[in-house]
Subunit: 338 residues, 2 copies
């Protein structure tokens, strides 16, 4: 896709001097979901994160075939510490692209842009796309599309889409995960950070992300935000319209009582969420259907999980699953069968 970011693989994953695994969740996500793209790891002194990949310097990794150094940690504040700069310069000199999802852009590092230009490598700020997009048209495209949507942010829309795309490919179905956020882009190596696109072009960017395809091809599109979130619903709706999904998967965290960080906004009931997402999605695909409910059950034990699935299935008459725990055969059947 000419309009989206394309990353060069495989990666040398850099985890800085991070001493807390949760701040390295991008690194773990990329390692777990794109193991074939992860050649090695590199750390600074004091780092407590170990990805169980070979340790290599930038020079060794370049020699072994790495194409990019990927920054896999997000330190508190989102800024690139000065202590990282020498290693990033070494990576550029070794011929590696640098891939960052930080708030600060790579060209703010003294001398790095010029060094990259001279060495012929690229500095990729996944959070700051430089592409432009057309206005959306609503034109129906060929091929099939699935989109994950949710009752809130940060509850598993990305991992649900990744797990479904993987299960479909395991069944021999021609399926692509389509990334709409920075970690997803790093995992699959391409995509569009949809929340960084100028508002006028949200649905146009989403249309660009899943172009015309073969009739039996599936794009499995990572959702963003939530229709019920006062900060991000516009992003969610523009992405949904541009994606024109044939199938929706509704993602939910059953332990959450209100939106993350917004105590005044209760999580809406699942049947209400299902109805509203379908109403909205019908604007660009009259035949859209909901094929399953993805429940984040990481905080439940087996008995609680089984009870929750049974209860939710009886209310919604749809298969329930946890993308990190469940087999997805029945779900894939349901996705394929209109």
């Amino acid at each position: 896709m000419s309009h989206s970011i394309e990353l060069r693989k495989p990666y040398l994953i850099f985890v800085g001097d991070e001493d807390s695994a949760p701040y390295a969740k991008t690194a773990y996500g990329v390692r777990d979901w794109a193991p074939e793209a992860c050649l090695a790891q590199t750390q600074l002194p004091g780092c407590a994160v170990d990805l169980a990949l070979p340790h290599m310097s930038p020079e060794q990794a370049a020699e072994a075939g790495a194409r990019s150094l990927l920054i896999g940690v997000a330190p508190r504040g989102g800024r690139i510490p000065a202590t990282w700069e020498p290693l990033l310069h070494r990576a550029v000199q070794a011929g590696l692209d640098i891939v960052s999802g930080m708030h600060t852009t790579l060209d703010e590092i003294p001398g790095l842009s010029e060094a990259a230009r001279k060495r012929g490598v690229t500095l990729v700020d996944v959070r700051h796309p430089r592409q432009t997009f057309p206005v959306g048209t609503g034109r129906k495209r060929t091929g099939k599309r699935l989109a994950t949507v949710g009752t809130d942010c940060v509850l598993g829309k990305k991992y649900t889409a990744l797990a479904i795309a993987k299960a479909m490919r395991a069944r021999g179905i021609d399926a692509d995960f389509r990334a709409t956020g920075q970690t997803g882009i790093m995992i699959c190596g391409s995509g569009i950070a949809i929340d960084a696109v100028v508002s006028d072009f949200i649905s146009g960017a989403a249309e660009t992300l899943s172009p015309d395809a073969a009739p039996e091809h599936w794009d499995v599109i990572e959702g963003q935000g939530s229709l019920f979130h006062p900060s991000y619903a516009g992003v969610t709706l523009g992405l949904l319209h541009g994606s024109q999904p044939d199938v929706l998967i509704l993602c939910h965290d059953p332990t959450r009582q209100h939106l993350k960080g917004l105590a005044d906004f209760p999580i809406v009931p699942l049947p209400f969420a299902a109805k509203r997402y379908l109403e909205e999605a019908r604007l660009t695909n009259a035949n859209v259907r909901l094929a399953g409910v993805s429940l984040n059950t990481s905080q439940l034990d087996d008995a609680e999980r089984a009870r929750l699935f049974a209860e939710t299935e009886s209310v919604l008459q749809l298969p329930c699953f946890d993308p990190m725990k469940s087999r997805l055969d029945a779900l894939v059947d349901r996705i394929l069968t209109p």
Copy 2:
């Protein structure tokens, strides 16, 4: 508002060498809705547009107190023709800001940025905001808010909001029109071009536009796009959520069968549109209500208009009006009375 554009008035309105009045609709809009801001007009040879304002050169206008030259035409293609450049340079030399809503930015005109810097004047590209905005919070703000929403784009949301703000002020109510598009910004001299804001910050920008205010103060907010438009619904929804309106006014063009330029998208029925806008708006204001329906009846005769109003009022049980034709007393009563 620190985050929004602020224009310096009064204006010298420039209509170039335009030979077709429809391309000068910005100039007419500013003259009709902000007559006190319009000091004079200036043309190039061949211009067929006359705003019935005094003719002045940039130098004469500056001498008479003008603060900005406002480009009031949008030539086909949206680019600034080379033939305009000498006059724009003269305006800068005379000490006027330049205000443009064109796609090309003013700093693309050779030498203009530097001349403006030296002369201490500002080049304002209304379509390309340089401000940044916070993420929306959904926090309830003080004061009252009205938002215009529509069944499509380009059917009168701006003029409806302008007419309501004017009618409210005529009744002694403390009311401000809040502009969200370039023509609206030029008319009232401030605002935020909401469709040019990065997606992540749509509702945050809308929250910034109508800040906390006195309990009886009304912000009358210009809507954008339509929830039922596949290109722009994300902008519409983010703006709606950030505006947290107490009152909605639904705008509609009864002669339109499908979305402007999109023959595959029929205009939705008014009761359906009313229901959906209220559902969406409740996320950030549980007490939102619909107070009236604004009908663009410019293509109807008096008898047709009367019949349409009666018919629509009986279906929706709400006052109907045409902002360019009707008295708005009954509507304002309805707005003020929960």
